[in-house]
């Protein structure tokens, strides 16, 4: 029969019947059910197997604290392991599967672990698998890894979208139970910007689970009216299905909103979850409380639940955990469950109350001063054994047992900034500390106020206090008339009878015995207890387990719980999917892409692109018939050396430096002199860090007395600009200098090769003379091209050839590239990419990022004489340190392979012939390597000790990691035109 445990009423939409599957069987439930309530309605009590012993487990709780009912939800790529059935909102077609069992939930082979439980106690990992030593890697570890863990990830890419975002408010209220609602009404009416967030898919908190009246009407009636008012307030944002999982610095909270988890067929554009960063000026924490169980022998059978959960299932979800239920309690709240079950016509076998003076509130049997000492039942509870007050034992038949060991305030968020909860003996639980994180108030059950009236009162007061801190006034809230009787609780943690196991932490299979063992072996500090036993370390983070574990340790050590202390909570309050933390930053959207104005043209040419920082740059341009990238690159290099090539260098950083003191400023940031650079000239410049090491190199072109254009490497464009701003604002505020990044404003192209001038002559307007005499090496000018388009021309060369860089406003970039190709047809102009650019500069011996790697100084680069001793620039003094300037230090050299086939791998280290390859004998390393079409052999740049004095030596190039060894000849780093005749031609 379908839904045989379904009762009348409840907060369900019975017009919407939903079918779902669990372990391959189809069941039905209603809209408003959770997977757990629907399973209980269908009398499915066995839902999982425990972590270590593979014990049969059922549903313990009704919320996010659930340690047992952990399932795999959904199928295929959307499969999500370790999901709590108690928070999974039912939808049509939901598919769930139990986990940690094989071949089936009912018959689990690994259940054999339970028979060997005495060998699998806490810390068994640390004591076993010690010998033989060789077995660890091949046998023990693989077997343990296979057995460990609960569910399994799908192994497929997550097909869903996730978003991240930021919200801002005056007041964030965490939890929408009585306290949260009172806080929201108070703040909402004041006009403050309010966010009310609750992890549940219905607002109301415990109001949804109870039947009492509020202000003369049903609690659901009051709730409906309150929510209608809040929904009507534009300044209040109501966020269901939103868990505030962490409290961070500066009033920032992390929240996870589950947007599409409850939808059968979510829109493809809908983010599955949104990770919110909430900037709140004040926070009121109304997170409620969590009921805790009591430990007794075999207290983990399916059917044994928290008493408050049984009540919630009956009242909210109209589900009987079983037709016949017993209650085991140490407080009055357990009795409330009995009363509610009776009111629904269910059979209450007895209320077992450990208090000798246990109260009786209705027509049910109370066994005062008694305790449950054992249970039986194969895959679900069938009987409980009770030690009566007179010492005799009695067995009661029941299919469900509601256990209430008291309630723990949910103080997690008060701990996230190192707040340590304090023991409150009145409620036998930890409560929030007196000193709370700045801007945070706690109200209601989270603040140990366990009556409904006190929750309303505290919520309203906390809200008013929080807003008064912001200078906002509030009106008093009319608290609905409701129960305000103090709840009596008598601390009781475990029955202490029997030789069997009594569970403290259900999810991690930590028992009373484990905690005793921890004590016996000296792991008595709460921090040691946690790590030795794994108490509270599972996905539920010990929400139902921690306090009992600490109480037991306190008993064993003879200390009070207060003296024993507690571990503190860390974010997240409940698990957060990695996908949500990543948001949109994954796959091809991991980070933005930057493209140059002529990117489209390069794409049309079939360019192969490479990432340079965020930029996409053409790496080479393959032509028909070329089957290997080297063929393309070699062709491009030879084309530049032989005639002319064009390369997109828009990505180089460009900084406009203007002001009366622009030259003085550049003198400060570059180690070489710029003050006397004439207008219309460019100079190569080297920037040093404060510690004297090289930071970046580039050029500075003087367009006017008070105007320079500085170029940086692509990779360091942002960091160099930031450095220059730091110097301007903090080190030299007296200088009149202004910096503007213009990297994006100008499209820039290198035109290199013996025919480069001839090509440019075809596009430069005739008013401008670019002959060698009028526009020599290192000249620059602002001119016009193609009939009046503004351009900047720099005669600089990275390739060692006669070369220029020409810049136009970005909107003309694409067109300029096409025009250069058209105008250069006569010269067989060739576009070349970054790979050829690299080969050309290695052949010329130009350093770049591979050489300026944060470990090298000017002297190492062979640029020691560039560091001016006549002025004070950043890094100059410290560049004189022995380690950076010694004659015997590293020097940039060239390496040539003995033949065409011998590769010189970049990153390889250099050793003298005959010496061992050890750090102590290391002579240097290879920074850049390529095949040189000019030399017709592999060549490289390298740093070598005393390198400038060792030209002509043979050296061993070794890559010990991959077992490669080769020999190379040490030469000048200038493989081509060392006199620089070509670039001055």
């Amino acid at each position: 029969m379908s839904q045989i445990n379904r009762l009348e009423n409840g907060k369900l939409d019975r017009s919407a019947t939903l079918s779902f599957r669990f372990d391959g069987r189809t069941y039905t439930g209603f809209k408003g059910d959770t997977l757990a309530s629907a399973l209980l309605a269908n009398n499915v009590k066995l839902v999982g197997r425990s972590f270590k012993y593979h014990r049969p487990r059922g549903i313990l709780a009704s919320g996010s604290e659930e340690p047992n009912a952990i399932v795999e939800l959904r199928e295929g790529a959307r499969r999500e392991p370790n999901t709590r059935a108690t928070t999974a909102e039912l939808y049509e077609g939901l598919v769930a599967k139990s986990q940690n069992r094989w071949p089936s939930l009912a018959f689990d082979v690994m259940g054999i672990n339970d028979l060997f439980s005495s060998f699998l106690t806490a810390g068994f990992y640390y004591k076993t698998f010690m010998w033989p030593k060789a077995f660890w890697e091949k046998l023990y570890e693989p077997v343990i890894r296979r057995a460990a863990g609960l569910g399994a990830a799908s192994g497929e890419a997550d097909p869903d979208n996730y978003d991240k975002g930021a919200l801002h408010c005056d007041l964030l209220i965490v939890g929408a139970g009585p306290a949260g609602l009172a806080a929201a009404l108070t703040a909402g009416r004041s006009g403050a910007r309010v966010i009310l967030a609750d992890e549940d898919f219905e607002f109301g908190g415990r109001l949804n689970a109870e039947t009492f009246e509020l202000g003369g009407q049903s609690s659901s009636g009051w709730l409906k009216a309150a929510l209608a008012e809040l929904q009507g307030l534009q300044n209040v944002r109501l966020m269901k299905r939103t868990t505030v999982y962490g409290a961070f610095d500066h009033g920032i909270s992390g929240a996870l909103e589950r947007v599409g988890d409850h939808l059968a067929n979510p829109d493809a554009a809908l983010p599955r979850q949104i990770l919110w960063r909430i900037y709140a000026r004040q926070i009121v924490l109304c997170a409620g409380a969590t009921e805790r169980p009591i430990a007794f022998e075999n207290n983990d059978r399916p059917g044994i639940m928290l008493a408050g959960a049984i009540r919630a299932y009956a009242n909210r979800w109209a589900v009987a955990a079983d037709p016949r239920t017993a209650i085991f309690t140490n407080n009055d709240d357990g009795h409330r469950t009995a009363l509610d079950l009776i009111s629904k016509g269910l059979d209450v076998a007895a209320v077992v109350d450990i208090r000798p003076d246990a109260p009786k509130f209705g027509d049910y049997e109370v066994l005062a001063g008694a305790k449950v000492i054992d249970t039986s039942g194969r895959r679900a509870l069938s009987d409980i054994t009770i030690r009566l007050a007179d010492g005799t034992a009695r067995t009661l038949a029941c299919g469900a047992l509601g256990v209430s060991g008291g309630w723990n305030p949910n103080v997690s968020l008060t701990s996230h900034k190192r707040g340590r909860p304090v023991w409150n003996p009145d409620i036998a639980a930890f409560a929030p500390p007196e000193t709370l994180p700045g801007g945070m108030q706690v109200a209601g059950a989270a603040n140990a106020a366990f009556t409904t009236a006190s929750a309303f009162r505290e919520g309203a007061e906390a809200s008013a206090k929080a807003l008064s801190e912001l200078g906002l006034k509030t009106a008093g809230l009319d608290i609905p008339e409701c129960a305000d009787d103090a709840v009596s609780v008598s601390p009781f943690w475990h029955t202490g009878e029997g030789k069997g196991r009594a569970w403290i932490d259900f999810q991690n299979d930590v028992t009373v015995k484990d905690i005793r063992l921890s004590h016996q072996e000296g792991f008595r500090s709460v921090e040691h207890l946690k790590r030795y036993t794994t108490l509270g370390m599972a996905t539920d983070q010990g929400k139902t387990a921690n306090v009992a574990g600490l109480a037991l340790m306190a008993e064993l050590t003879g200390k009070t719980i207060e003296e024993t202390g507690t571990t503190i909570f860390r974010p997240p309050y409940t698990p957060v999917a990695i996908g949500a933390l990543a948001g949109r930053s994954r796959g091809k959207d991991f980070r933005p892409v930057r493209t140059t104005p002529s990117h489209g043209w390069a794409t049309e040419q079939g360019a192969v692109f490479t990432e340079a920082g965020l930029w996409l740059r053409a790496q080479w341009f393959p032509r028909e018939g070329e089957t290997h990238w080297r063929e393309s690159v070699d062709r491009e290099v030879l084309a530049v050396r032989g005639s002319v090539g064009v390369c997109d260098v828009t990505t180089l950083g460009k900084v406009d430096v203007q002001g009366r003191d622009a030259a003085t400023f550049l003198n400060k940031v570059y180690c070489n002199g710029f003050a006397k650079l004439p207008v219309g000239k460019v100079r190569y410049g080297l920037m040093l860090r404060e510690d004297g090491l090289a930071m970046d190199d580039g050029t500075a072109a003087r367009l006017a007395e008070d105007h320079f254009v500085v170029t940086t490497t692509t990779a360091n464009a942002v960091s160099v600009y930031r450095h220059m701003e730091f110097v301007r604002q903090c080190l030299c505020p007296q200088l009149d200098v202004q910096l503007i990044s213009t990297t994006e404003a100008w499209a820039q192209y290198a035109v290199a090769g013996p025919n480069s001038r001839n090509l440019l002559a075809r596009i430069v307007d005739t008013d401008f003379d670019i002959s060698n005499e009028a526009f020599p090496f290192m000249a620059c000018a602002e001119l016009t091209i193609c009939g009046g388009v503004r351009a900047r021309l720099f005669r600089i060369s990275f390739s060692g050839e006669l070369a220029y860089e020409i810049a136009v406003p970005a909107r003309y970039g694409d067109s300029l590239m096409r025009v250069l190709m058209e105008a250069g047809e006569e010269f067989d102009v060739t576009p070349y990419g970054t790979e050829a650019l690299g080969v050309l500069r290695i052949e010329k011996g130009h350093a770049t990022a591979n050489e300026l790697n944060g470990q090298t100084a000017a002297a190492h680069l062979g640029l020691g004489r560039m560091v001016s001793q006549k002025k004070d620039s950043i890094g100059t003094v410290l560049s004189r340190r022995d380690g950076l300037s010694a004659e015997t230090g590293l020097r940039l050299v060239g390496l040539i392979a003995p033949d065409r086939e011998t590769a010189i791998p970049a990153g390889a280290h250099l050793f003298n012939e005959g010496e061992q390859h050890l750090p102590g004998t290391d002579q240097g390393w290879v920074t850049s390597a390529c095949y040189s079409p000019h030399v017709e052999k592999p060549i490289a740049l390298a740093f070598l000790e005393r390198g400038d004095a060792r030209h002509g030596e043979d050296i061993v190039v070794a890559n010990p990691i991959e077992g490669q060894t080769a020999r190379a000849r040490v030469v000048s780093p200038h493989f081509i035109d060392p006199e620089g005749e070509r670039l001055r031609a």
Partner: protein
């Protein structure tokens, strides 16, 4: 005179992504803008403010704000620094025009096409931006200008009409990624509101 002529290619044109519409939302590349940045030289701040106000025919905007004159818009970009925006067709040489007025009182840098400009229109746009921008866009009033970040992309957001119309400026090279981020933001907003 060379035989060759250059044609203009506005940001976004290379990828063809110049507009996007979904339900009541629109996202459009604004192609025809001339931009120039102006930074007052040390000790000349008042001089620049006066001269620039004359050009704009409006008071210079303070921090976090923009102002609109008959032909120019200006927004604050830093201490004594502003971005000046005008129509490209009539002010292609905006930087030179400003320099001629400001002389040596200010440093002027041409920024034409260095920025991609996107206009976003639609109802309750802070609900779109809240998943793209960390700043409190709901608090922006008409005339506000804010420097912020969208999906790692630094940009300015100008509030042209509270809740309904905003202009975004980011580095031109980020155009494709920014357009993608915003269009995805609009798509997911529509899905969330369904």
């Amino acid at each position: 005179m060379p035989d060759y002529r250059l044609t203009q290619s506005v940001p976004g044109a290379e990828t063809g992504e110049t507009g996007f519409a979904l339900k009541n939302f629109r996202l459009d590349v604004v192609p025809g803008l001339a931009l120039a940045s102006v930074a007052a030289r040390t000790g000349r701040e008042d001089d620049v403010a006066a001269r620039l106000s004359d050009v704009l025919e409006a008071d210079l905007p303070l921090a976090g704000a923009l102002c609109q004159g008959p032909e120019h818009t200006a927004f604050w970009t830093g201490s004594d620094q502003w971005m000046i925006v005008a129509d490209h067709e009539s002010h292609e040489h905006l930087a030179a025009e400003l320099k001629s007025v400001l002389g040596d009182s200010a440093s002027v840098s041409e920024q034409n096409d260095g920025w991609i400009c996107l206009d976003v229109t639609g109802p309750d746009l802070p609900r779109v931006f809240e998943r793209l921008i960390h700043a409190d866009t709901a608090a922006l009033k008409t005339g506000a200008a804010l420097r912020t970040v969208i999906e790692h992309i630094g940009c300015f957001i100008l509030c042209l009409e509270t809740d309904r119309r905003y202009r975004l400026l980011a580095g031109r090279s980020y155009g494709r990624s920014l357009f993608h981020a915003l269009s995805e933001g609009l798509r997911s907003t529509v899905a969330l509101q369904a």
